[in-house]
Assembly symmetry: C2
Homo-oligomer: 136 residues x 2
Amino acid sequence: MQTEEEILKIKKVKNTAVRTVVLRHLLSQEKAQSLKDIENALAYTDRSSIFRTLKTFEENKVIHSIEDGSGMTKYAVCAKGCNCDPKDLHYHFYCTNCDKTFCLFDVPIPKIQLPENFKLKQANMVVKGLCDNCNK
Amino acid sequence: MQTEEEILKIKKVKNTAVRTVVLRHLLSQEKAQSLKDIENALAYTDRSSIFRTLKTFEENKVIHSIEDGSGMTKYAVCAKGCNCDPKDLHYHFYCTNCDKTFCLFDVPIPKIQLPENFKLKQANMVVKGLCDNCNK
DNA sequence: TAATCTTTGCAATCGAGTTGCAGTAAAAGG
DNA sequence: CCTTTTACTGCAACTCGATTGCAAAGATTA
Ligand SMILES: [Mn+2]
Ligand SMILES: [Mn+2]
Ligand SMILES: [Zn+2]
Ligand SMILES: [Zn+2]
């Protein structure tokens, strides 16, 4: 696992106090985090600063966002080497019981055969149901 | 293609003026519609009435919703026989250029091998890129 | 150091979605 | 029919996640 400093260096994002603490928080969580999650965890950091940090991170492929249908966009740190290209596509799982969203890096995504002349650029793939913990 | 009346009858949703016109509009459009799209198209029908109609339709599997990441939930009429079960899963395409979202009923969705003990219930699968019209 | 650019915090704003409520319409009961 | 009950509709107000303007603070450059 890389440190915050290493990640920001690789992605060419200047390191600041807010960025370090936001990225550290994201790295420490197994579930994808919403702006509010982060705001709650970092009590003394302003929401709009976190918001802009997330935008900067996303633009620079430090993190990617997930629309899981919960009403709040979630964010997760990109895997090492990820460029948010079609090759980096992966499913996300949203547990409708415990409200946890996370990347399914280990589930292979098949090649999607789009109609003639369509061009694939990105995707937001969210699979919903019960996680192992809630499916008992 | 079924008429509005037939669909509502099959799905056991009472037919009303607003419901008929909303469903008719959805059937007439090839792209999935947002609440605002419908509001704009039906100038004399109140937004909250349309909103509640969409909720009723969704609860009764007349339509399904799509979170395409555009900030507005889109709605599309369910295919004949659809029950919004995992078997009815299909991809959606969101064109980042012309902002059009639609169901890809013809693209097969492979079986998703979830981790041990996870239960699949639904999914929101949105593929993004350029549609044939914009990819020139 | 002075000038310039970037980041941050605060407050205000935006807008999609949602709800309370009262009026209207439709269904049920007699 | 007429009355009672239930469902639907329109309007206005509100919620809340997301976003922005602006000035202060911090970092970088000349
Ligand atoms: Mn992910
Ligand atoms: Mn669809
Ligand atoms: Zn769970
Ligand atoms: Zn297009």
